[in-house]
């Protein structure tokens, strides 16, 4: 585990690494992806984060930001993905503090592939802006958001997939789902596809809604309280984000942390 307290250039290494971002200052980080790197960034404290990421040709890497901040967080992230590179950028949001995040991914060279994934337990205002832009042919961009919005939460997701002219045979897909348990909760998801090329594939799926009453009745008829149903359904929605890191120990650790949060609902 490595602490990050000041501005740094981080070179990821092959295998699993864990970083803890803990600073009372605004931080400016650059991350250089390397092949087969898997990194977990626990964000304990940071006023404002500015991250610049660079994935060189052919590298396959995953980074997971796990928000544990006790104070509001603002993050501005930009990633460049080059030829044949495949990166996964994932967010686990269960801190319960106000968060504003802007993620811009440029699929710069052919066959670049980026996945932007989030799982959020929303009990404060949470604002995502995700923008995956295809600048080259044969690129693949995927955005997947899963959120459970609690009574005090307010979710806003602006998910944009953009394919510029000349980026033929590219694919841009996105799915965003928000689940709530009570009436009157506010969630806004804006799925956008901006396509300036004919030979492409693009799709978006979006759902916002309360848990079906029949499902709750079914689960409660086996003895679970409403609170236990909420936790179990939320776990089903959110826990898969932990699996982006391939290390089973890290997966179970993150799952346990999330389950602990859910058990406190």
């Amino acid at each position: 585990m490595r602490d990050i307290r000041v501005n740094e250039d981080i070179l990821l290494h092959e295998g699993f690494e864990e970083y803890v971002i803990d600073s009372i200052r605004d931080l400016d980080l650059s991350i250089r992806f390397t092949p087969n790197a898997q990194a977990l960034f626990r964000i304990r404290n940071a006023k404002s984060l500015r991250i610049r990421g660079y994935a060189e040709d052919g590298c396959e890497s995953t980074i997971l930001f796990w928000n544990e901040c006790q104070a509001p967080l603002k993050a501005d992230e930009t990633y460049e993905v080059n030829e044949g590179a495949h990166i996964v950028i994932a967010y686990g949001e269960c801190a319960g503090t106000e968060t504003e995040r802007s993620t811009y991914v440029a699929l710069r060279k052919p066959y670049a592939h980026a996945e932007v994934v989030s799982a959020s337990l929303v009990s404060s205002p949470l604002n995502y802006r995700m923008n995956v832009v295809h600048f080259a042919p044969h690129t693949l961009g995927e955005i997947r958001n899963f959120a459970v919005v609690l009574r005090t939460g307010k979710l806003m997701i602006d998910a944009i997939g953009k394919i510029v002219k000349g980026a033929y045979a590219s694919k841009s897909h996105q799915t965003s789902r928000a689940l709530s348990f009570e009436e009157g909760q506010r969630s806004t998801i804006l799925p956008e596809l901006l396509i300036d090329e004919n030979d492409v594939e693009a799709s978006h799926a979006m759902s916002i809604g309360r848990v079906d009453d029949e499902q709750l009745y079914y689960m409660m008829s086996r003895g679970l309280t409403l609170q236990q149903c909420t936790a179990l359904l939320s776990a089903g929605y959110l826990l898969p984000v932990a699996d982006v890191i391939e290390d089973p120990q890290v997966q179970s650790l993150l799952r346990a942390e999330l389950e602990r949060k859910l058990s406190e609902l």
């Binding site: 008829s221 003895g223 309280t225 409403l226 236990q228 179990l232 359904l233 776990a235 089903g236």
Partner: protein
């Protein structure tokens, strides 16, 4: 001895009066069959006992083991020993069978069920019901066939070990082999402890396997005829018309068939037929 006692039960669903005074007593270990034409209140009675929020009890009482069931929430009824195998089990994506069942077992115990004990129990039940081995890891009922969903209800029942189980058309969607597997699992439970059953089915074949001691026929929200297993056999052979005549009653009218919407297909056929004349 635990007894389910229903007295003069009236139930409304979405403003419509469905049950119009039901009396029923189920003693420990008894098996009761509930028969009757469609849309006459059998499922409503079971859902009202389990506490479905859409079903409003306007009059009457339900007690279980001397306690007022109508004052209990749905989960409390389950924990008190009531179980409903539903006609249409819900699909719950994202929640695995094992997580769900372990949570359901734990709410009945002071200490959580040890993982090894749970796995052994789950494996045995999966084997009893001849389900696929990956059942535990699949999402609850998601993508299950109709028969798998019904068998999964009995998997849950076997693991939760209720005192009284209500089976709402459990046999619909089951093929002959599956029907025998499910009946065998239920009968094994009855041999283990004094399980009470209320069974809703239209088919005498299922009753032959479960062997109810009491048969009740429900028409228009009331139990109008009661008897033993011979009554189920007679209904299977003769239908319900003799009951309507003998007791001078009419069944609640089934929902009117939806008016057939015009479609391009039917219009085209009609026009062709006209042209050929």
């Amino acid at each position: 001895m635990k007894t389910l006692e229903i007295k003069n039960l009236h139930v409304d669903v979405e403003g419509k009066n469905i049950l119009k005074g039901v009396d029923l007593t189920v003693q420990e270990g008894e098996v009761h069959a509930l028969m009757g034409p469609n849309g006459n209140g059998k499922s409503t009675l079971l859902a009202a006992i389990m506490g479905h929020p859409k079903y409003i009890v306007t009059e009457g009482s339900i007690t279980w083991d001397g306690k007022n069931v109508l004052e209990m929430s749905v989960d409390e009824r389950s924990k008190a020993g009531l179980f409903l195998a539903m006609q249409y089990p819900q699909e719950i994506p994202g929640v695995t069978n094992s997580d769900f069942l372990r949570a359901a077992m734990n709410v009945r115990r002071e200490n959580p069920v040890p993982l090894f004990t749970f796995i052994k129990a789950m494996e045995k039940t999966i084997k009893d019901l001849e389900m696929k081995e990956d059942l535990a890891h699949r999402f609850l009922n998601e993508g299950f066939s109709g028969g798998e969903k019904k068998r999964n209800e009995i998997v849950q029942m076997e693991l939760l070990k209720p005192d009284i189980a209500m089976l709402d058309e459990l046999d619909s969607g089951l093929d002959v082999d599956a029907l025998h597997i499910v009946a065998r699992a239920i009968n094994n439970m009855r041999n283990e402890y004094p399980l009470s059953l209320i069974v809703v089915s239209h088919y005498e074949r299922f009753y032959e396997l479960i062997e109810p001691q009491f048969v009740h026929v429900m028409v228009d929200g009331r139990i109008v005829v009661e008897g033993d297993a011979a009554l189920a056999k007679k209904i299977d052979e003769e239908g319900y018309d003799w009951i309507y005549k003998e007791y001078d009653i009419k069944p609640a009218s089934a929902a009117a068939p939806a008016k057939r919407a015009p479609s391009l297909g039917t219009c085209a056929v009609s026009e062709k037929a006209k042209a050929s004349k």
